[in-house]
Every structure is written in C-alpha cells, then in structure tokens.
Amino acid sequence: MSTHFDPTQHISSSAAYPEVSFYEHTDDATFKKKVRKTTILLSVITIIELAIGLAIYTIHKGENPSALLVLMFKGAVCILTLAKAYYIVSVFMHLGDEIRNMIMTIVVPLMLFIWFIIAFIADGNSYKNLRNKYDKHFQESTMPAKHHSAEEKPADAGGKQ
C-alpha cells in the first residue's frame, strides 16, 4: 500500500523476525534440573582440566618431554575453558534465554579479542626473537640450559620457535 521508503527493509531478516525466546522458566523442576546439569558439567570439565594440568606436570618431569604433546594438552585446556565460559554465560547469566539480537550484541564485539590476542602474542614472540638475535646477554642469561633435560622445561612450549 504505502510506497514510502522504509530503510528498515534493508536490515537483516533476523532483525525483522526475531526469535521470541523469552526469559522463561517453565517450572521449578526443569529449572533446577538445568542448573544441576550445568553444575555437574562445569565440575567435570574442571576436573578434566586439572587432570591435564597434572599430565603436563608429569610430562615435564619425565625424560625428553615432548613439546608437541604439551602444546596439544594446552590447546585442549583452552578449548575446555571456552566451553566452561560458554556454560556460565549462557546458563548462569541466562544469555542463552535472551533474544538473538541481544546475544549478538554481546558476542560480536567479543570477536575483537581474536585480533587483539593474535597481534599482542605475535609481537611478544617477535620481541623475544629479536632480542635472542641481537642481545646475546639476554639469550645466554635466560635461555634454559640443556644440562638437565630430565627436569622442568620451560612451561611455555607455545613460545618456542
């Protein structure tokens, strides 16, 4: 009917047809069950994380620790932590029950962390390499000695080049 230009037509369809997901607890029992489930899940993930932490400790203590294995374990812990964060935000903070656009306004800005982390870590790493190359004193005084490989290696296997 109206020929008026409505710029709203150009926003994404998700804005035009939001999923109506109210903050709604159907009943006490379901809610309690959900909380119990999440609590158990968080505890289990934490226990697995601790187990991995101890595994890294034993790898370090053993003969010829494998840097790759340590790195893989560390990656696994990071993923598990993100899973934990997801459950806390989505269930405990009820973000999962909000309207999708609201979720997007929280999640999308967090994407900035990706480049934030990559750039900072990459530059930190490059700083180390530059100093190892041009500052011999730095390299000699901080590089872990090779004479007791049976004992703790640098915890930071990811920083190795």
């Binding site: 480049w115 750039a119 900072f120 490059s126 700083y127």
Partner: protein, 603 residues
Amino acid sequence: MSESMSVHPEVVTTHDVHHDEHGGGHHKETFISKYIFSMDHKTIGKQFLITGIIWAIVGGLFSVLFRLQLGYPDQSFPILETFFGHWAKGGQIQPEFYYALVTMHGTVLVFFVLTAGLSGTFANILIPLQIGARDMASPMLNMLSYWFFFLASVIMMSSLFIQTGPAAGGWTIYPPLSALGQASQGSKLGMDLWLVSMAMFIVSSLLGGLNYISTILNMRTKGMSMTRMPLTIWAMFFTAVLGVLSFPVLLSGAILLLFDRNLGTSFFLSDIVVNGEVLPNEGGSAILFQHLFWFLGHPEVYIILLPAMGMVSEIMSVNSRKPIFGYMAMLGSLFAIAILAFLVWAHHMFVTGLNPFLGSIFVLLTLLIAVPSAIKVFNWLTTLWRGNIRFTPAMLFAIGFVSLFISGGLTGIFLGNSTIDIHLHDTMFVVAHFHIVMGVASFFGMFAGVYHWFPKMFGRYLNSTLGYIHFWVTMVGAYLIFWPMHYEGLAGMPRRYLDKSGWVSFNQFGDLDKMITVVSIIVFAVQLMFVFNFFYSIFKGRKVTTQNPWGANTLEWTTPIRPGHGNWVGEIPEVHRWPYDYGKDGRDFIPQTEPIGANESKH
C-alpha cells in the same frame, strides 16, 4: 511459572511513567538541583560544553606558548617570566616547561575537550531530544558521568600547579620515561596525577557511554526505528561503543604503569640506566605499553571524529534542503570505521621495533579505512550538489569540516604505509596530518554543532556576523598553520623538539615557523571572540521566536523553544518517517512526526 515474563514489560512502562512525572514538572527544583547536580540531560550537556570550553582555552593557550618558542627560539619574552617564574627563566621557555606544555596541550585537547567536551555535550543534548525520550535511561549515572569528568578535570588542573609541574612525557606517556621519576621533572608527581585523572576520566566516559547505548536502544519513541534515526544519533552510538570497548584497555595500561611507578614492578621496564644508575627492573616491554595505549588511542581518534561526522551530516542535509545522500551507505561506513578502528592500532608503532610482518598486516587494515572514509566524503559532496544551500555559520563549519577531512585524510595514506612512515615518523608531517584530520576537523564539527543547536540549548541565536568572522579566520588560519608543516616534515624536521636552530638544513624554515606562530596567535584570538559570542549570546543574543528556526525535520524542534525537564509537554510525538525528507513533493521539509501521505512519492 511465567511471572518473570510479565515483569519485564512492566518495568519498561514504570520507567516511562517515572519520566512522565518529570515532564509534568511537579518537582520543586532548587538552584543546586537545577544547575549543579542536575539530572536533566540538557543541563548536563551544557555543563560538559562549558567545562570543555574552559579546557579548550587552557589547551589553546598552551599551544600559543610553545608556538612562541618554535617561531622565535632566541627571543626573550619578559612577560612569560612574570607569569611563569623559573619555568620561563629570562623570558625564555625552559625545556621542561616546553615538554609540559606540549604534553598538556595534547592531553587536554584530545581527552578533555574533544572527547568529553564534544561527544559529552552533544550526545547528552541530542540523544534524548532526537530519539524522542524524556531523558537518558539513567539520569543519575548521567549526572555522575559529568561529576567524574569534573573530578578528573580538577586533578589534571591541579597537576599544573605543583612544584614539579604536570606530566611532560608527551600525551602518549610512553614508558620508560613516564615510569621513572628520576628521569624527568614531568615524570614525578605530575605523572601520577595524570594517571589518576585519566582513571577518573575513563569512569566518566564509561558511565556516559553505557547510558548513551542503552538510551538509544531502549528509549526510542514509537515509530523511531533504528534506521529512522538521524545520523547524529548513529554517530553517537558508535562513538559510545568505541569508548566502552577501548577505554578499559587504557585503564589496564594506566594501572600497570602506576604499579611500575609506585610498587616496583617491571611491566614496561627492562635494562635501564638513568643518570649512571643501573635499575633493577628487568623483563618488561616498553612496546607492550604502546600496544595497550594505542588499542585505546586509535579508537580514540574516531571517538573524537565520529560525533563531528554525524553532526556534519545532519547540518549539511538541513542547510542544503536536500536529503542526505546515501543514508544506508553513511550508516554502513560509520559501522565499518567503528570496526576498523579496533584493528589498526599498531600503525602508530611502525618504527618502535614492531615485527615488520605484523606491521604489513596493519598497513593493509589501515588503508582499508580509506574506503568508508571516501564513501562518506563523496556522500557529503553529493548532498551539497545542486542543493539549495543556506550558508549559515553552522553550514560553513560543516563544509569546512569536509574540506579538512579530505586534506587531512589524504596525508593519512602516506603515514599508513610503513615504508613511508619510516621517513615521516615523528616529523612535523605527522603533526600536520592529525591536527587537520582529527583536531581542527573535529573542532569544526563541534563549532557547527554549537552554532546549529545553540537556539535549542539556550533559546537564543549566536551572533552570525561574529560567526562568519570566526569561520573564515579559523578556516584560513588552520590551513596557514598546518599546511606548511607538511613541507617541514617532508624535509625531516622532527616534532616535539624545543629548538631546531642547530640544524642548518632547517634554517630555511625559520620564517615559515614565525608565520605559523603569528597566525596561530590570531586564530587563538578569534576563538576567544567565539567564546565571548557564546557567553554574550546566552544572555543577550537574539531570541528564538519560532519552534523550528532552521526548518528541520528532527524531533528536537518539536519541543518548546525552551524545553523543561522531560522535553515535551504532554505526549512524546510519534515518528512516521526518516529525518531527511527535504525538498520532497514540492515541500521544503516534512517533519518526522508527519504521517505518510496517501500520494507521497518514493525517494
């Protein structure tokens, strides 16, 4: 069961009711609650503006002082010794004084004038008025936002009057200089006060920003969909988002720097010898601070620029009597700029020892900003094209903004390339670039806003004749001051140096520097004339007699000439169209409140 469901809508309505009470004006307001601890967004906006003006005078005066040194390095000005004592011994500006002046000029103008004074003022005044709200979402936090800014101002101002002087390590306060009191006068107490003041400032900007975002999202009047909002509001929205996400990173950096200064940590310090003394600090990274600083610092540039862009778009459309060209493109480019603002910070650090490969990624991301910037510029030009232009002072400043944005933006392409930046880094070229594109351009946006919305703020007009003088002198002056600096910079003249007369190669610029100094004094005097115009017109200016003096579509012109707390008497108007229906169907303008006619054409 579903009780929680009913709670939410209820709350939203109680909030409205609460504001309606304000609108009715049943309150007995005392002087203190009306003008000092006011919770009315319009009063808070004016408080920000007037505090910003005071700071601008201080910051501008600093630049005049150090320009005296740069233009006339050998001359003695006895009057300076009268005022500043040993800081200007023998009438000559001493090195420590010079560095303090440069540092505080930057700090004051970037943060206190162009962040708080610009977006604090116009976000406060315009957001509720243009989206059709009685006030901000939380008037209380809004008031606190101003008073935290005031507190930050008091602390920063007090640092000017202490024995060892204010911070003097440049507005970017790079450690190790800023972290070590023994390294310089300006790194003693003044630096601590700087950091504390900035922490207060960040709190203020956070409180303000949260309020702006939730007001724009939640408090729009009926019919005011997001894409019916004036571009001013969109610009303020992105500004607030930038501030909320980037200022906390500076806060982290400032806290770590405070620890380095006072608790003996080594976050940013390593391998340092000061005055022959070897410091025990090791393991820190000075580059890390620069990363943290510029993660804020670069979005900060857009925090300053976006509100000016938004206001210029609005003013330009109103005074061209034409719809803004490419509303959605304008909006999209604002969004693109807001995102890119977060991704490009290390282009300030190409020569610090940043990994060159990483640098090349930053070059790529930096040059991408040219795309949305160019879209905006062409849209402004096409808005002007064949328009029925009214050259009000506000419009002149808006056009001047576009001119400055173009000429300052183009030099950004030079600096954004890491290879060219090796030559140009820390030269006067950089000074010229960012003063034109961010400093003066944002000031032009601010002036445009003040001239345009002064009738709404105070119910009177600013004097136009003084306005025209103000514009032309400032416009010509700005180019005369900053254009020659490009040549100096290309020739390799460094910035921040007290005295360059030791270099034979820079002797040729002696007269040029004198000219710049003279022009900057003239321009500063003209700004004082504007300040006079501002305060004179508040009390004695020509009175506004019609509700909508500029023939504008937006909602603020549907309020009474001097709106009370609550803005609208009676119901808040409903919105039926976008705000840029100018020169449509043979009508000069159609306010947003007018329903769509049956035979209205598409545009």
